[in-house]
């Protein structure tokens, strides 16, 4: 497979374009799901869409992608609002409600699917591609639908940007300002459901939630601005789609869904570790630097306590007397000498004038903090 295949080969181009668009819309809307603490809602919705797929086929008897999409959309929405109903009307908490709807709907969907498979009608083959997704079945029409939905949701996001942003970060304030929070809530939830349903054919019911979460979780690590996060998440999503498709197209026997999810997971891991602001690596580096600095100051104050008892601050002392003090290491001493706070002669150290002043100010600072 050549790189140029992606631009010349019709099927491959369609698929790549499709997964890229899908990744972008998932990243965009996933940002809202993650920030609204509805990460697992995506998981529930995608599973809840399965009976809709089966019922749409059972009722119409045709395997048209659009009909099935509508079925999935309806059943996804029913699941979503039932989850809200359970949380609101009973004492069951949201995690239980999510797990319930997810598994019950999926089980019912599987019942219908196995029922369909045993029917004499031979037309049904291929419904199970919705379980793990098969990007290879994407045709140009599907890509067009994705593009249109992405365009519409982008438009809606831009139109309601201010309101949605406010709702994300301070729902109560939004309400007091007179915005219809219920409407906004339904609006964003509906679009999230729509994005999930769109991805079912490509990524599949089981793994769709990761497609929604991973790009947003990765993007969150690089920025604190909602706008930047949406854009970054879309880019991450699109790249996961493209890379995932490329990898799974080059191998036999690989469903696209799992590969795309793993690529997205790689984005998440890299972001978790290497993001400069929040990443684990830089956090550890900062942590160590702070600790070293603290040790330096501790050693210096200890020296100050010894030196201030002498008329001449630069009176040399043996390094040995620092031994019963834990903070000092050879490295700290060299560092202190580099900064010209002390002078080291053989096995003795002496405080310089500069070091004395510095230490005095630290000492006074500590005294003040303790007051």
């Amino acid at each position: 497979m050549q790189l140029t295949d992606f631009f010349t080969d019709y099927t491959l181009r369609t698929i790549t374009l499709g997964t890229a668009i899908l990744g972008a819309i998932c990243g965009m809307l996933g940002t809202f799901a993650v920030l609204r603490k509805q990460s697992l809602l995506g998981d529930a919705i995608s599973h809840a869409a399965l009976p809709g797929i089966a019922l749409a086929f059972l009722i119409t008897g045709i395997k048209d992608a659009n009909v099935i999409l509508i079925g999935a959309l309806i059943s996804g929405l029913v699941g979503t609002f039932w989850i809200k109903g359970i949380v609101k009307r009973t004492r069951l908490k949201s995690d239980t409600a999510l797990g319930l709807i997810l598994s019950l709907f999926f089980g019912f969907g599987m019942l219908l699917l196995t029922f369909i498979q045993k029917m004499p009608n031979a037309n049904q083959a291929g419904l199970d591609k919705y379980l793990f997704g098969q990007a290879a079945t994407l045709v140009e029409e599907d890509v067009w639908i994705m593009a249109v939905v992405t365009g519409v949701s982008l438009l809606v996001l831009l139109l309601f940007w201010k309101e949605l942003k406010l709702l994300l970060f301070d729902a109560d304030y939004t309400k007091t300002l007179g915005f219809n929070t219920r409407f906004l809530d339904i609006l964003i939830t509906t679009f999230i459901v729509l994005a999930i349903v769109l991805g079912l054919q490509t990524v599949g019911v089981v793994l769709m939630s990761a497609m929604l979460l991973a790009p947003a979780a990765a993007a969150r690590q690089w920025t604190n601005s909602l706008g930047v996060m949406v854009i970054l998440a879309s880019i991450f999503g699109a790249f996961s789609g493209v890379f995932g498709t490329a990898i799974s197209a080059g191998q036999n026997n690989l469903s696209t869904g799992p590969v795309i999810v793993l690529v997205a997971a790689a984005f998440v891991i890299v972001s978790f570790v290497f993001s400069p602001g929040r990443g684990l690596l830089f956090r550890e580096i900062r942590f160590r630097r702070n600790r070293r600095e603290l040790h330096l100051k501790k050693t210096l104050t200890f020296m100050y306590n010894i030196a201030k008892n002498h008329e001449n601050v630069s009176h040399p002392h043996a390094i040995r007397i620092l031994n019963n003090f834990q903070g000092f290491t050879r490295k700290t001493l060299t560092k202190l000498e580099e900064k010209q706070f002390i002078q080291i002669q053989g096995s003795a150290w002496a405080m310089t004038e500069k070091g004395y002043i510095e230490a005095e100010s630290i000492f006074n600072q500590i005294g003040k903090d303790n007051d």
Partner: protein, 386 residues
Amino acid sequence: MTNAQIEIQVIAALVAVACALPGTFLVLRKMAMISDAISHAILPGIVLGFFITQDLNSPLLILLAALTGVVTVMLVEFIQKTGLVKEDTAIGLVFPALFSIGVIMIAKNANDVHLDIDAVLLGELAFAPFDRLLISGTDMGPKSLWVIGTILLISVVLLFLFFKELKLSTFDKGLATTLGFSPVILHYGLMTVSSVAIVGAFDAVGAVLVVALIIAPAATAYLLTDDLKRMLLLSCLFGVISAIAGYWMANILNASIAGSMTTVLGILFLSAYLFSPKQGVLSGFFRERQQRVEVSLLIFLLHLQNHTEEAERHVNHLREHINWQKVRAKTVLELAAKNNLIHTAKDIVSLTDKGQEFTDEALKYITTNKATAIEELKERFFLFRG
């Protein structure tokens, strides 16, 4: 019923009970979704174990998979502790990734007939009776019956041994810790038992439907009772019902057993959701209506008490004054009359002695708001509720 049919139903029932026991505690501890994470994330462990042992029922495979489950929980908790993402996001990130690895591992070795994607999602309950346990040539019954039976036995023994500790740490974590029960050990103990139960059930019902067996019986029972022991018993009962009814439903429809079991659980939950006497949607609706009428009644009585002049107490005037619609006004008036709180003479309404007493006490309650006795007050004075 043939022997195989009975065996399938027994296995299904045991699986359901083994899942329902830890499920009850998971639901009460608000950790239901962790079962979803475990059930997906054990897939790589199962596949790996299968490559080593070539037997889905081997104890090594079960241990390996259960270990993967516990590792998943730790991984989720590690990500939560870094504070990089919110906690539910951590769950949502970990399990799809691990599940994907498992799926790819299966796909890359697709020549294996015993472990395919369908089995992962649906289990192979229907084939369970064919894999027999032979000890020196004697048929001891299906292997999976022994596996799930052992798992169930262990969890029941653990449940009896640590019931008090589990109960305490579920409902009052702080107190349990002060009393010296390590929350960490209990937490990971529960996680281990859940993982083992999920692995045992995985073979029978598949990755996603395990979640239904864990959550649905417990959630349904939680809508019906406030007592932990009764909740455990009820959820086991629902599990068994779903196993037997699910089997026959699958038989009739010629569909997947696991799918039918879940559907039966869905029907059970829906019934409890709608009709549960205390928690149900319908009873909630009626309670709300009753309370609305009774609050109206109280307002009405207070109004009567405030006005001694006859003009203010005329039936028609009341309707205008408190601004009620005709039907509502009528309901309230009738309720008050039925309870002997008012009497009407020539369309002038006035309080009876009993009404006067009730209103005084209610007023005292409302102004001081110290006693929580308004319900008790209503019980004492009302012959009929709204």
